[in-house]
């Protein structure tokens, strides 16, 4: 009976955190709506609607035992790949600002890369679990085959998203893969070798860039990733490009900085920043509520991740742990990238801030991810004596 009860249990800590984040999102969209009339008309109402819809989605996801999602792992993965590839040949593919990233059905748009993130987490968690079930002993062979499987699944997704181009989202894919590689059971020596070489390659590229920035930029400009060149230059030297590519970064710094310790107060906006309701929503909070408000957001995110990792630790099913860690990989990178770019730690990339940014697709996907975590949590087969120290 006790087990039954625990099975239905909802993780109030995580749910409260998410609810707070969404509430802050809706309130922030409301302040934008009030201050910039006609620009963000009724966006907060949309967000409420999507929150309700995605809450139903969460409930649906929790209804099925998370173990059964292993059966859907491959179909979901193939669907994801198809959706990404379909942008290039399906009639609904929709290009905007030079990026082929969306499907358009009537007035609604859909960004497949958002879904694919979660599909990939499920697929990787399944593949790693299966691999560990089959391979009993750990040697180089075990490491390489598992690594090969993880990269084999991740690379096509990474590439398909990168060529849209959407460097931000493809880096999320990389982050998911990296987190799962660390946790998958691959031995430290292999992990360190792999990460070490990646680090060396990146470091070399950075050194080349700083040694000969113009050459690197020229080289990048000849590729389809020329916007990356702009972003890097703008980040490196914002005031040189303040009227063009660095404008958003500078405005963002102005808005956040001028919030100072406690902010300008609710609905007090002075700086106009494009995309403030989506990727730049953090600046809206920081301008209104200052360092105090921004820190609250970061702490809330940290508590969310802390709780997911705790759930991952407590989970007795490896699949559940991998799911949670993959999701942590997704969230961590997005949060760090989104906030980091608005305070000039990182170059600008178009990534929404989970739960805070306006947007139906992304909210639905992140809520689904939380749904999976809650599912894992609610079906923990804990023993009586273990549940006591909960």
């Amino acid at each position: 009976m006790d087990n039954q009860k625990q099975k239905q249990r909802l993780d109030t800590f995580l749910v409260t955190t998410i609810f707070l984040l969404v509430a802050i999102s809706i309130y922030t969209l409301y302040t934008l709506d009030q201050h910039y009339e006609k620009v963000y008309d009724g966006y907060y109402l949309d967000q409420i609607k999507w929150f309700v819809v995605s809450s139903i989605g969460v409930a649906t996801i929790m209804f099925i035992d998370f173990d059964r999602y292993r059966k859907f792992a491959w179909p979901l993965y193939i669907l994801g790949i198809f959706m990404l590839a379909g942008l290039h040949f399906l009639p609904w593919g929709y290009e905007n600002n030079g990026a082929l990233r969306w499907y358009q059905f009537g007035s609604t748009t859909l960004q497949p890369s958002e879904f694919v993130k979660v599909f990939l987490v499920v697929a990787l968690a399944h593949v790693i679990t299966s691999h560990n079930e089959k391979w009993q002993s750990k040697d180089l062979n075990y490491d390489l085959v598992l690594l090969g499987k993880i990269l084999g699944l991740s690379l096509p997704v990474f590439v398909l998203i990168a060529i849209q181009p959407d460097i931000g989202s493809s880096l999320v894919i990389a982050s998911i893969a990296a987190f799962l590689i660390i946790i998958s059971g691959i031995r430290w020596r292999t992990v360190i070798t792999l990460f070490g070489s990646v680090f060396v390659i990146i470091a070399t590229l950075v050194i080349i860039y700083f040694a000969n920035p113009d050459g690197v930029i020229e080289f990048i400009e000849d590729t389809p990733f020329d916007h990356v060149a702009d972003r890097i230059q703008a980040w490196d030297n914002p005031h040189l490009y303040q009227d063009s590519s660095a404008m958003q970064a500078i405005k963002s710094m102005m808005a956040i900085g001028s919030g100072q310790l406690s902010g300008k107060g609710s609905m007090q906006y002075q700086v106009w920043i494009p995309e403030r309701h989506t990727d730049m929503i953090f600046t809206a909070i920081a301008e209104q509520f200052g360092f105090v408000g921004s820190s609250v957001i970061i702490v809330l995110f940290f508590l969310m991740i802390y709780r997911i990792i705790q759930i991952a630790l407590e989970c007795k099913e490896p699949f559940g742990t991998y799911l949670c860690v993959g999701i942590v990989g997704m969230f961590t990178y997005q949060i760090f990238q989104n906030i980091g770019m608005s305070i000039q730690l990182l170059p600008l990339t178009g990534l929404p801030l989970p739960f805070l940014s306006y947007g139906g697709t992304s909210l639905l996907v992140y809520m689904a991810a939380i749904g999976l975590v809650l599912n894992v949590r609610s079906r923990q087969k804990t023993f009586m004596f273990e549940s006591n120290d909960d």
């Binding site: 200052g290 970061i298 940290f302 007795k316 860690v325 942590v328 305070i343």
Partner: protein, 708 residues
């Protein structure tokens, strides 16, 4: 068991991950601290410097109505081509727009300066200009360098600029004057042809900041009647007048605002000027406006209702023109110096000016036909010797100071003083008169005797020297001032003349002259205020040209009253009411009793008029040492005597003769017209419609306005 074994690595690795995540988030908070706490104030300072661009969009000026609600000055809309620069527009951008615009519109290069041309040349030949600099100059700062470049440009460079390019420069000159995000009129009104308007409207999308819109201009519907008097407003190029720059800038005006430059437009500028619409703009990196926030709604300027009755005004103007023409055509040689007449009609109970007229006659020559200029402001600006019209004030001075008493008599025969010119009346047959009869028959001698007494010379003895204790002037002028003679009337107009006045050194015989209006010069408005003060029983009222100010309305009719110019008593004549009544009676008899100086003209007038005629010897000194003797004819009066509702003053200076009695002719017709109009309106026979084509055209014949 296998599963259990596999999982053993997890807690460690998860903790490592968790630690990494903790580090990442710590970095975020650290950097936030740097951005928000360490450099927060800098960011705020940067915002204050760069954001929050506001623009002010002008609204139409208030209209001007007459006392009966007829529109006198209206705004008429006209085509305009405007330029609204974005933020941080560079000279190169303006040049590009100017070059594009020059394909579609013409622009006279009259206003182009040499500096404009040089700026243009540098823009077009930047490399060449730079190469001319010496090595030393090249090390200078941007601004000094630019000045050096300007100096290096010579005639041959400028002469290489083609005529087409001159047009570009002229357009660019206008563009450069525009303030960011605020519409600036490049060209408007008749200068904009229909073709230009259409073509630019069509191409506006490719001309950043250029749009076609409407501008307004002031239209004086009764022109030339009163148009110079009401005054004009500046155009956008001249903007604020230099002498009142600080005054307007302190009141949030912008340099290129159009303001009233003269007359009523200037006097009531702060009311007529609308409240500008203020918008705050949020711009993106290209300076394009993303969002405009309405900070303050604009409001059209307030409307003025003049105290002027335009129908009476037009009639008065016409009477004056006709009478002047008559006098001049009858005796052109004798009256060759006569060229103007001024008249003011005023409500003696409120100070409201019903009509104010001033006409100047320009004699024709071979090329030009003779014509009139409508210069109503002369009634406030021009001071002339008033003649006997001031005798009412002299009598009151005598009565109140006690040097004469009601009924005091003097024999009117010429006075002779040792060492001074003789003093006599115009008419030699007056005989012994009391104070009332002295006004009726205009006895100079009575006034002299009164003035002598004020100066301490009590009894006249033939051929004695004129004695003067030095106080006569201050006593007499003090009384005169109480009636408005020789002081500002307080009229709501930017300027009025005070008169040409005496001072403490005024001689005894000059005081005698002053008593008969032969010494100090007064304006027609001062005379009108004086006679009003006598008419209404001693209240000196501030004359008003504007009756009330109305809030703007959306309809054709006047909006609710914002402020009314209430009658303002400047001072009350502090004397026995009996004295004032004696003067009123003297004035009545002058108009209504036999032997009265204006009796011949007003005897049959049904409206019970009273007043005083005046004739003054006024010499003209052309400046070549010669002296030309002329005569000023004047008339002040009011009606009806027992319940005055209209007071007036007329001055016709520098006639060659007094037989024409142009003062009385005009006075009679003026009062006749006033009461006819009143009767007509009371009977409601006509809805007064001074806008009708016929009437305005009549008036326009042979007239022209002058801008002062």
């Amino acid at each position: 068991m296998g599963k259990k074994k596999q999982k053993s690595h997890l807690p460690l690795r998860l903790n490592v991950l968790f630690f990494v995540i903790f580090l990442l988030f710590s970095i975020l908070i650290l950097q936030l601290g740097v951005v928000q706490i360490l450099y927060g104030e800098d960011a705020q300072a940067e915002i204050d410097r760069t954001e929050n661009v506001t623009s002010e969009i002008p609204t139409p000026r208030g209209k001007i109505y007459d006392r009966n609600g007829n529109v006198v000055v209206d705004n008429s809309l006209k085509y305009a081509i405007t330029y609204t620069p974005q933020k941080n527009v560079q000279p190169e951008d303006n040049l590009k727009v100017a070059e594009q615009l020059s394909q579609y519109m013409k622009m006279e290069p009259d206003s182009v300066t040499e500096r404009n041309m040089k700026d243009y040349w540098i823009l077009k030949n930047r490399d060449e200009a730079y190469s001319r600099l010496t090595a030393e100059e090249k090390t200078l700062g941007d601004l000094e360098q630019y000045y050096a470049m300007l100096e290096d440009i010579d005639e041959s460079d400028l002469s290489s600029i083609s005529e087409a390019e001159m047009e570009v420069i002229a357009i660019k000159r206008e563009l450069d004057q525009a303030i960011q995000l605020t519409p600036h009129v490049i060209k408007s009104g008749e200068d904009v042809t229909k073709e230009e308007y259409a073509v630019i409207a069509e191409h506006a999308y490719e001309l950043p900041g250029i749009s076609v819109s409407t501008d307004w201009s002031r239209e004086n519907l009764f022109a030339p009647t009163l148009s110079s008097f009401i005054g004009g407003i500046s155009d956008r190029n001249s903007g604020l007048p230099k002498d009142k720059l600080n005054y307007y800038l302190a009141r949030n005006y912008k340099l290129n605002d159009r303001v009233g430059e003269s007359g009523i437009e200037e006097e009531y500028e702060l009311y007529l000027q609308g409240k500008k619409e203020i918008r705050q703009h949020v711009t993106n990196s290209d300076g394009e406006v993303i969002k405009s926030e309405l900070i303050r709604e604009g409001e059209r300027g307030k409307d003025l209702m003049l105290s002027i009755d335009m129908e009476m005004q037009q009639a008065l103007d016409q009477i004056i023109r006709e009478e002047m023409e008559k006098v001049i055509s009858e005796k052109p040689q004798v009256n060759r110096h006569f060229d103007k007449v001024m008249a003011v009609m005023m409500d003696p109970n409120t100070g409201e000016i019903i009509a104010v007229s001033g006409h100047r006659y320009i004699r024709g020559d071979e090329e030009n036909a003779p014509r009139f200029r409508n210069e109503a402001y002369r009634a406030l600006y021009d001071a002339h010797l008033p003649g006997s019209t001031v005798k009412g004030a002299t009598i009151l001075s005598g009565l109140d100071s006690g040097v004469i008493e009601p009924g005091t008599q003097f024999n009117d025969h010429p006075l002779q003083f040792a060492g001074s010119p003789d003093k006599s009346s115009w008419t030699s047959t007056i005989g012994v008169v009391d104070d009332i009869a002295a006004l009726k028959e205009s006895s100079n001698v009575y006034m002299f005797r009164t003035a002598m007494r004020l100066g301490g010379h009590w009894d006249y003895v033939h051929n004695n020297r004129l004695r003067y204790n030095g106080e006569g002037y201050s006593i007499l002028s003090n009384y005169f001032r109480q009636f408005g003679l020789g002081v500002h009337t307080g009229v709501d107009y930017p300027f009025e003349e005070n008169g040409f006045l005496g001072d403490d050194d005024t001689k005894g015989y000059e005081v005698l002259d002053m008593a008969i209006g032969q010494f100090e010069n007064y304006t027609t408005l001062q005379l009108a205020q004086y006679v009003s003060t006598i008419a209404n029983g001693g209240y000196r009222l501030e004359p008003h040209l504007v009756k009330q100010i109305h809030n703007p309305s959306d309809t054709e009719s006047l909006g609710p009253i914002y402020k009314a110019n209430e009658p303002t008593v400047l001072n009350k004549i502090d004397m026995d009411q009996d004295y004032l009544e004696r003067v009123q009676e003297g004035f009545r008899q002058a108009f209504q009793e036999p032997r009265g100086t204006a009796y011949y003209k007003f005897a049959d007038a049904p409206y019970n008029p009273a007043g005083k005629t005046g004739t003054a010897e006024s010499a003209i000194y052309p400046g070549d040492g010669t002296k030309i003797d002329t005569i000023n004819l004047s008339l002040v009066g009011y009606a009806p005597y027992d319940n005055p509702e209209i007071a007036f003053a007329i001055v016709a200076p520098h006639l060659g003769e007094s037989d024409s009695h142009i003062n009385n002719e005009i006075g009679r017709r003026l009062l006749d017209t006033y009461f006819e109009l009143k009767e007509k309106r009371q009977q409601g026979e006509t809805e007064s419609d001074p806008n009708s084509e016929e009437e305005t055209e009549n008036v326009e014949e042979n007239t022209e306005t002058s801008e002062e």
